[in-house]
């Protein structure tokens, strides 16, 4: 399979703090790759390096074969970036923001107009085209950011925590949009600390903690390695223990043989949070 993003021993230090620590990544062309990890794990720094905003301290990063430091111009032409915070000019309208991005990427006048109309329609923002960004809702701002980043038809779209702070319905609409982009052939690299987001969207998930990739695979594979079924038991009304089993039969057999002090037994499907907790000893989302 063709590798679209490759990093080798990628390291970024800020003074004494190591944000990324010898990261080796391989993102396939056309996939949705999820980067799952707690706040401060190095997700945003990785995106900043891959999108040419931050120089790595050591190691290499290639996007479609181009080095992000030595060939940053070639990289810039093929990437679209949706940052975690609103990065639109809030004094301009949605359409003006889109036109601005198109101009920076050297699109001609007629191409700009055509692309703006197409993309606004694509995300259902045609009615909002002439509204100032500041007047939009959070979900609309996010969609406006996505279409602005798509003006030059990038080959890879980086989404940094795309649904943070959005309500459940808006989040699902954005997931649909990301799936559509993927079906249209765009490689998507997204960071998230929402387990359900990684499970719902990503073909492969890399789990990052303290700047290191600690596991990688399809969501199902990661869960299989741990055990597809989880048993939660409350022992002595104090501590919840987690046990993982390959199937429900094994889990049920375990529960039947539990000692009397084990209470409130829950049998459920394992999820990526279980994988993460077992790998790192911490809950995703905790600082």
């Amino acid at each position: 399979m063709e590798e679209f993003i490759v990093t080798e021993k990628l390291t970024k230090k800020y003074g004494d703090v190591t944000a990324i620590d010898g990261l080796d990544l391989k993102v396939h062309a056309g996939e949705i790759y999820g980067f799952l990890g707690p706040n401060g794990a190095g997700k945003t720094t990785t995106i900043r390096v891959l999108t040419t905003l931050t120089k790595p301290t050591s190691g290499h990063a290639l996007v479609n074969g181009f080095d992000v430091v030595k060939e940053s111009d070639a990289v810039k032409k093929m990437i679209g970036v949706v940052q975690q915070h609103v990065s639109l000019d809030r004094d301009l309208t949605v359409k003006e923001n889109m036109e601005f991005r198109a101009r920076l990427h050297h699109l001609g006048s007629s191409e700009r107009k055509k692309r703006i109309a197409e993309l606004l329609d694509y995300v259902g923002l045609t009615e909002e085209a002439d509204r100032l960004v500041d007047a939009l809702s959070g979900g609309m701002k996010k969609r406006a950011m996505i279409v602005s980043s798509l003006m030059h038809s990038p080959k890879v779209l980086f989404l940094d925590e795309p649904t943070v702070g959005l309500d459940a319905q808006t989040r699902r609409r954005l997931w649909d949009l990301i799936r559509r982009l993927h079906l249209d052939g765009t490689t998507v690299f997204l960071t998230t600390h929402y387990i359900e987001e990684a499970e719902a969207l990503c073909q492969r998930v890399g789990i990052i903690d303290q700047g290191r990739l600690i596991d990688l695979g399809k969501p199902l594979e990661l869960r299989q390695r741990l055990g597809l079924v989880t048993v939660e038991t409350l022992v002595n009304n104090k501590e919840t223990r987690y046990q993982y089993f390959a199937d429900r039969a094994a889990a049920t057999s375990y529960v039947q043989n539990l000692p009397p002090e084990a209470k409130t037994v829950i049998i459920r499907d394992s999820n990526l949070e279980d994988v993460f907790v077992e790998l790192t000893g911490r809950k995703v989302g905790a600082d």
Binding site: L53, K76, V86, S87, D89, R101, L104
Partner: protein, 249 residues
């Protein structure tokens, strides 16, 4: 080369859209200070006084024009850039696009030049009406445009350097404010001791005022001051490029 020009225009385009939407507010706010100085110093303090053979109004007018060029160009280039970087966080979009840092620096400078010229032309119209001695010669226009570039470069430099709103305020209080009052805008440097003069020549506004006054009142032109003004511009531009290179890959 074509790309360089179109990239510069692309960067400028965003700020022109903003200016178009807020042109009246921008013009009004940038004219308040010079008009206050004109009334307070030109008519209030200086009425009836003769200065270096001119009435005080004719003497002070080129200084006020230099001052307007400074505040409008510096503020016009620096403040929006500062807001884009630290509050709107949309400045990264420039750095992630395939335009050169040179185009970015010049594009961001040009909005300061445009705003500086709009404000100075407005105040100049007032000046020509109330002070007939004022001559708008080609040399005057050249110095005015040069001054706008120099102070716009300074605005971009500070807009890129400031890490917080406080940094910007500190620079304004410690550098811009003293420069406003001490750069020979309202008085002649010839009255001052040499040591004080040497310090004041370290301000670009001193050279801008001297050159504009000489050109407007048909005095011998201080070419050395003009060279100093150009040098300030070159240093500020190099500073902008250095900061941009430092913040990007």
């Amino acid at each position: 080369m074509v790309n360089v020009f179109s990239d510069i225009y692309s960067v400028l385009w965003v700020d022109l859209r903003f200016l178009r939407r807020h042109w009246l507010r921008t013009l009004a706010t940038s004219l308040v200070n010079p008009l206050l100085y004109l009334v307070a110093f030109g008519y209030g303090l200086g009425s009836g006084i003769n200065f270096e053979g001119y009435n005080y109004l004719a003497f002070v007018m080129p200084g006020i024009i230099a001052l307007t060029a400074m505040s409008s160009s510096y503020g016009g280039a620096g403040l929006k850039l500062h807001v884009d970087r630290l509050f709107y966080k949309c400045f990264d979009e420039y750095l992630m696009s395939p335009i050169s840092l040179f185009s970015l620096a010049i594009g961001k400078t040009l909005i300061g030049v445009v705003r500086g010229l709009i404000s100075t032309v407005a105040i100049l119209l007032v000046g020509v009406l109330i002070s007939p001695e004022l001559m708008v010669t080609p040399l005057f226009v050249i110095v005015l445009v040069t001054s706008c570039f120099v102070f716009s470069f300074l605005g971009v430099l500070i807009g890129l350097w400031a890490k917080s709103h406080q940094d910007l305020g500190t620079f304004s209080t410690l550098v811009i404010l003293p420069m406003t009052f001490l750069s020979g805008t309202f008085f002649s440097l010839s009255q001052l001791p040499e040591a004080v003069k040497a310090v004041l020549y370290m301000f670009p506004l001193t050279h801008s005022s001297q050159c504009l006054r000489a050109a407007a009142l048909n005095q011998p032109f201080p070419w050395l001051s003009f060279a100093a003004l150009l040098s300030f511009g070159a240093v500020f531009f190099v500073g902008c490029m250095w900061l941009l290179k430092r913040t990007s890959v």
